[in-house]
């Protein structure tokens, strides 16, 4: 069996002074090196779940937590958020809220987490240069991070998370505020890191993107998992609409064509798959 990056067992959470549970009885696991996507409507608990992975719940947000979350085999209860940050990193939606506000240059911002760990300056300089190159922000290293565009600021947020060398990346709608091209750029980097062995857990509303990247998809509805499987399994499931999720356009169209017997009865969830199916359908009458 694969080693597990994240293991969630019967997890429930309710924020302080709220009446309903944000998460109830969630169980699933993420194998090391996989690309795992969590989808569902707004307010179903996706962000809350992401926050537990990095220990922000229960160490930062107040509330009542039951069940267990293990990161690389160790319970998050036994570790501080700072300890966890060397194993798992979180990038979320608003890039400017992911700036420390202590830095006047991008370089200082990238180095901030290292400073909190007491990393020596020479090593810091090296790591900053490497991460800046990876994120393609070496041109703006001397700029004030608060003056950057949203897209660049999100790259900085990525860089400052990634410089701590986590083996797991949690991306909570991290490209929502970027234009499609900017988002594509960032995901190209994410995909590369995933190929190099980094586990990725991603929350996103762009189903075409989810279908393209995910090994496994978990569908959440009202704080509970309702569906899990490969993109083909999840997006082929007829109950999907009930859970407030629409399959990628490619899946819908190949399904419609297959129903009319125009193409082979197969689900094409990515563009590549759909193109192949349609081309084949055009050549052979079914």
């Amino acid at each position: 069996m694969d080693e597990l990056a994240i293991e969630v067992k019967d997890l429930s959470f309710r924020y302080r002074q709220t009446t309903h549970a944000a998460l109830s009885h969630v169980s699933f696991s993420v194998p090391k090196g996989s690309f795992f996507c969590i989808i569902g409507g707004n307010g179903v608990g996706k962000s809350t779940l992401c926050n537990t992975f990095v220990g922000l719940i229960p160490h930062y947000f107040l509330g009542k937590m039951d069940g267990e979350v293990r990161v690389n085999g160790q319970s998050i209860l036994d570790q501080s958020i700072a300890d966890l940050s060397s194993q798992i990193g979180l990038v979320f939606q608003n890039p400017f809220n992911q700036l420390s506000y202590t830095a006047s240059t991008v370089a200082e911002e990238l180095a901030y987490g290292l400073g909190n760990r007491g990393v020596a300056r020479e090593e810091m300089v090296k790591k900053v240069a490497a991460v800046a190159k990876l994120m393609r922000i070496d041109q703006v290293l001397d700029q004030n991070p608060l003056d950057l565009s949203g897209g660049q600021a999100q790259r900085v947020a990525f860089g400052s998370t990634f410089i701590l060398e986590p083996k797991i990346l949690v991306l909570d709608e991290c490209t929502t505020q970027l234009d499609p091209m900017g988002a594509d750029d960032i995901f190209a980097i994410v995909k590369r890191l995933n190929h190099e062995g980094i586990t990725v857990v991603m929350v996103d509303h762009d189903m075409e993107r989810v279908a393209e990247y995910a090994d496994q998809i978990l569908v959440l509805a009202a704080g509970s998992p309702v569906l899990q499987g490969t993109p083909a399994e999840v997006f082929g499931d007829p109950r999907l609409a009930e859970f407030g999720v629409e399959p990628p356009a490619y899946a819908t169209v190949t399904q419609a064509l297959a129903q009319r017997h125009l193409i082979k009865a197969e689900l094409g969830v990515t563009k590549e798959q759909a193109v192949a199916l349609v081309k084949e359908g055009l050549n052979h009458a079914h």
Partner: protein
């Protein structure tokens, strides 16, 4: 405070702690010294320092811009109405100008000017991040460092936010021009979103700090900003302390001699 501009002058190269020591020593010396002449001398020397730091024009503007009105104000208040006044130099009809009050006012003005001038030079030639890095190295709590830097950085950001909110509220019919009452009524719709969104943003920023190890307790923090203590720093620090001690001794002697 200055932003991340490249090091240009020898003053900028100095360790921020040296400059803080200079504010303390020069200011205190002026305060202790029985008359205004030492302070005046220091201010003149500081004009030279400002010249070396390439900030002479703005420095002069600040010093005169502050110095002239406060001098007039204090000469008026203390010169004419100070209860200490005994030696009358002139009678203006509505009030009498007294020497003691004038001297007292001059002392206050010159002391303030020394503090203002040293403070201004430090401020203009020291990058805030470097100062906090220097303070952190010398052992202040990293949380204090965070508070100083974040307060400095958050304000311009909130200004921008305020501009956007102003537009957003105008688009919902809030008048931001017109009579006093209309403008006062606009205050809450503009301030409300600033406060509310800043507070919720801060909670998210806290998440970021946590996941970057801000709460790490058992580690000595390091910084990307290089802070060095050069020979010039060492000599200057020694010089400043010797100067202060000398001024204290001379002041005591002068008072005793009276």
């Amino acid at each position: 405070m200055g932003s991340g501009e490249p090091v240009k002058s020898p003053i900028e190269k100095l360790n921020p702690l040296t400059k803080m020591l200079a504010i303390f020593c020069l200011g205190l010396a002026t305060l202790i010294y029985p008359n205004s002449w030492l302070g005046l001398g220091i201010v003149i020397v500081l004009f030279g320092v400002a010249g070396i730091a390439h900030i002479l024009t703005s420095f002069a503007k600040t010093i005169f811009g502050f110095g002239i009105p406060i001098s007039l104000m204090l000469f008026f208040i203390q010169g004419l109405y100070s209860p200490k006044n005994k030696t009358i130099i002139a009678d203006l009809g509505f009030a009498k100008l007294g020497e003691e009050g004038l001297l007292y006012a001059a002392k206050i003005v010159i002391t303030l000017l020394v503090f203002l001038a040293t403070f201004y030079i430090m401020n203009q030639t020291t990058y805030a991040g470097k100062m906090v890095a220097a303070l952190t190295r010398s052992g202040i709590n990293p949380q204090v460092g965070y508070l100083i830097l974040a307060s400095l950085n958050v304000v311009p950001q909130m200004h921008r936010r305020l501009d956007i909110i102003k537009e957003a509220q105008e688009a919902r019919g809030v008048e931001t021009t017109g009579g006093l009452w209309a403008r006062l009524k606009a205050y809450v719709p503009l301030m409300g979103p600033v406060v509310m969104s800043s507070l919720t943003d801060a909670q998210e920023r806290g998440m970021t700090l946590e996941t970057r190890g801000f709460a790490n307790t058992n580690v000595k923090r390091t910084s990307y900003i290089e802070v060095t203590t050069s020979k010039a720093d060492t000599y200057l620090r020694a010089g400043l302390i010797i100067f202060l001690v000398a001024v204290i001794i001379i002041s005591i002697w002068m008072r005793w001699a009276q």
